[in-house]
Symmetry: C2
Subunit: 365 residues, 2 copies
Amino acid sequence: MHVAEMENKVFHIEALREFSTRIFLHFGVPPEDAAQAADVLASADLRGIDSHGVARLYSYFGMLSEGHINPKPRITTVRSTLSTATIDGDNGLGLVVGPQANRIAMDMADKAGSGWVSVCNTNHFGIAGYYVLQALERDLIGWAMTNSTSLVTPLWGMERMLGTNPIAIAFPGKEEPPIVIDMATCAAAFGKIEMARRKGQAIPSGWGIDSQGRATTNPDDTVNGGALLPLGSDRERGGHKGYALAVMVDVLSAVLSGANWGPFAPPFALRLKIPERSVGKGIGHFFGAMRIDGFMDPDSFKRQIDDYIRVFRATKPAPGTNGPLIPGDPEREAEKLRREKGVPLIMPIIEDLRDISRKTGIPFD
Amino acid sequence: MHVAEMENKVFHIEALREFSTRIFLHFGVPPEDAAQAADVLASADLRGIDSHGVARLYSYFGMLSEGHINPKPRITTVRSTLSTATIDGDNGLGLVVGPQANRIAMDMADKAGSGWVSVCNTNHFGIAGYYVLQALERDLIGWAMTNSTSLVTPLWGMERMLGTNPIAIAFPGKEEPPIVIDMATCAAAFGKIEMARRKGQAIPSGWGIDSQGRATTNPDDTVNGGALLPLGSDRERGGHKGYALAVMVDVLSAVLSGANWGPFAPPFALRLKIPERSVGKGIGHFFGAMRIDGFMDPDSFKRQIDDYIRVFRATKPAPGTNGPLIPGDPEREAEKLRREKGVPLIMPIIEDLRDISRKTGIPFD
């Protein structure tokens, strides 16, 4: 363990937001898009999803520097009906293409009751939760999914064939805060394994396999040629279900839009292995939006959600716990704290941001 | 272990279908509805989902006998937009209300590109997979979910608050058979725990808790006042994710339609405890249908699915396995075998059917 890696420093969210915005502007991203992209990253930093905030800026920076991402995409509609569409992101930032595609889904919902958009030719879109929070602001039930670089093995396989392929959906309450679901379809995030590795700690069984396809609790094994396991981990505990969910996300996001699916999803970083085949364009996302009043009176729905939340919070707690949380609780608490006290960043991330600062001349900290 | 329980006998699917149809007719279910209901049960028996086929007929029989289910529902549309609707099932058989609501979703998809239907005032609808297979026959991507009697605890809880709340979705191939996902959102089915109990075997850790909220491997503990665990089992392996998925299914199916959600979902059998509160009407389902050509050329999509299936089948197998399956493989193999060789039923189920036969005068076997 390197002690320096565990040190951290706290930054005001607006300082991080401004730095990200200026970096995107530096590469010719239009001002509105730069602000949009920075907003998605800031949302992750606020909500405590540290792996998806400014920690990713170094990858975006590298991809833009080397011309792997188009800073000024012309986003087009490939095909559409009253409630469905396929969008081509023109290899733009996922942080720009994603929000635009999500708006298209929401606009369709306003007119047709619901809107469903599959997106190809796009890149990493930040946290899936961002998109469903946007839908809440328009009083819609939002859905968001994306495929991503393969890290996860199908049950009974020993190769990285699927991304961590998240699913997000949110439901508004009236007096209570919303239920916000945002979950990867693998047992544990790759970031957690990397953290265990840095600390020299074992990982729980059920998280990953080694390069020979054997269950392992050594994080090095999983990082070095092994793979993550799907949610459910093994056959007995339902690993086939997590695998099926990852396939669902992959097909809706990438097959349905004409993007690269499964093991062919391109990596979101420089110097990572490029898949041997291309079966489409970029990676894929999938967004949905549904008008609540397309199903029931929105006020009644929100009152029921309030009741739902209160009933679930009152569940008798398992021994040694404070009882069930409502999906979205930890992120909301992180946001409250970080808005007040700032966003803590670990030294390796700060060093990355300083490196970007040196290379661009844009001041940081 | 009672040896008699492990004996079984094989029945032709058409014999089971005819018996089910006649039982439904006996209670005044209209002929078309009786055939529809029997078809859903037959689909489960063919696909090897033994718990959801004629094994359930005894519950349907009991509910109809005691007037708990309306044999001649007037199914109505409560609210709709171009692509969404809420349907009131008038307390009909879920095996009749479900297919009707699914048809409404598919009809909307034909016109508007997609259709999304939330259903209240309904009952147990059989296997979720049935509905997405129906969508495949109309060249649509179908979704199906339902809530059900509470058996599952939220992570960190020690009470039954959620049903096994399944999610189904299917994608057609061109030369390859379709990908058919149909999965409960808990770690293991209640039926598996009951089977272990009969055999006097321990259950794997991660399936259930006892009445004190403690992890257990004794199936008796889980059945007697304990609860099932969500997919992911515990916090380390992502139990919060399975819990979130169960909440998603519950809200879409029951809150959005005005049905009973969470612990208030009524049981689907006589002599089970009735929840202390009613927060809506019956249980709830949720159906979706999307036109493939609302996103891309259907022929191209199906060719990509063929490629997808072949790529995933070619995944290097984990040691001691034959490699990954494609979701839907086991059910398709069961169907092939059972169409040829018949459907095996265990003695307790046969006894139930004989009892129904005695009570109704409708011959069985």
